[in-house]
Symmetry: C2
Subunit: 233 residues, 2 copies
DNA sequence: AATGTTTTTATGTGCATACATAATAAATTG
DNA sequence: CAATTTATTATGTATGCACATAAAAACATT
């Protein structure tokens, strides 16, 4: 019998993780209940609960009332990734960030955009096209649509020095958003802007940001070839 | 003064989120301390703490001892994404999953692989190449290296019907891993296997799985064109 | 056997309290 | 005045206890 006592929930969690990884507790297996484990670990049930809950959040444990706690059979890896402002992302890589506005225009968007953004027919949206650079080399191309009905202040913003990316985060309320990752082939236009060859495979992020019912902005980010995104596990 | 009391930590959290989104509490602003908020919300500090902690986990609040809690200036969006077994991923999309082994061979890996996997010179690794299909159409191409020193049981596995992906998860202990997303252009070989045109932009996932010091497996997944990955925010 | 009802039980959570810890602010010292 | 020490304070967390809740299991009823 293990006589080592575990003081804090982190060390309890670590021991739980060890047992799972070492297959002391095998996939699919039911583990003892909180109360019993708390006694074994020499801590309060509250502490045990916190530890087990945190492991369950990573997907390694499945917990259900009355049914108990069991080791996940197919551990759905829960990867978390931080999506920061472009500038911080570049600076975190130790590179020098710069920004370049390509175009800014008030236009009636193509159908696929107006549908997603629920803009009225013939309603103009602000279209901002810009380039983010790392150490003066193209890093990502930003293609953004802004709904001026929702963000009227954007009308007076030139976006020459501050990217729409950054300005929005600081000035616009929003309630929720959607993100999507994919791979896109470079078109002749995007290729020349990103200084890569036509048809290059580009890592792509599409974002849609909402404030209540209203779509604030829709943006597509095309990253220069070779870009990698590394989530924490 | 708000006389509504909040019973559980979720409703407290929701009200906190509302205040942030409504800019009652503006980015960069210091919010009242836990004890005061607990009184205002009519709950225990423990409950307030749980609520604030859960919001902080999403990146919307920055908390520091003594310094207090403030609304994040650059809300680093913390996206979480579930990386399940390929089969479940396909089935969750309501499609029919199937699997096809392309090749399985014991070979000395190219340098870049043996370096990452820290295999000895001339040491053979198990190389498994397979195709995952959704509704009988190519879904993803799996290119995997297995370290038989670490997973000796893999030697007797044919991987004809059960994918290495699934077999490993069920049978192999591991301590940690790395994931990386990127975009890759299809080569003639991969293009023909994925039934797409040469140079197509393919969404790519690279994974490295470790058990203590030992690399268990290294895998590259090339997804058929059009594949999108959608994290939860 | 099929259906509905009650009991049981493991997790989920709230609360009051106590103390730990990090980091700032204030006080002290050379 | 800069450097160092000390006090203060907001968050972080352990604990015991109580009760809520979901869901399985046992039981009862048709």
């Amino acid at each position: 019998m293990n006589r080592v006592l575990f003081r804090d929930w982190q060390s309890v969690r670590d021991e739980v993780l060890r047992r799972i990884h070492a297959r002391d507790w095998k996939p699919g297996e039911l583990i003892p209940n909180e109360a019993d484990l708390a006694i074994e670990f020499g801590c309060a049930r509250t502490t045990m609960n916190r530890a087990l809950r945190s492991v369950a959040e990573t997907g390694l444990l499945d917990r259900r009332r009355k049914a108990g706690t069991r080791v996940a059979v197919q551990p759905v890896a829960k990867a978390t990734l931080d999506i920061a402002v472009m500038r911080l992302e570049v600076e975190d890589r130790g590179q020098n960030y710069s920004y370049q506005l390509i175009s800014r225009s008030l236009v009636v968007p193509p159908d696929e955009i107006s549908q997603v953004m629920k803009s009225h027919t013939d309603e103009k949206l602000l279209h901002v096209h810009a380039l983010h650079l790392a150490d003066d080399k193209p890093y990502a191309l930003e293609d953004r649509w802004l709904n001026l009905r929702v963000v009227p202040d954007a009308r007076t913003q030139s976006f020459q020095t501050v990217s729409a990316n950054e300005w929005l985060l600081r000035n616009t309320p929003y309630t929720h958003g959607e993100i999507e990752f994919s791979a896109t082939a470079a078109t002749p236009t995007t290729a020349s802007l990103l200084a890569c060859s036509d048809q290059s495979a580009l890592f792509t992020i599409d974002r849609l940001t909402w404030d209540k019912q209203n779509d604030v902005t829709k943006v597509q980010l095309l990253f220069a070839p070779g870009h990698k995104l590394q989530p924490r596990l």
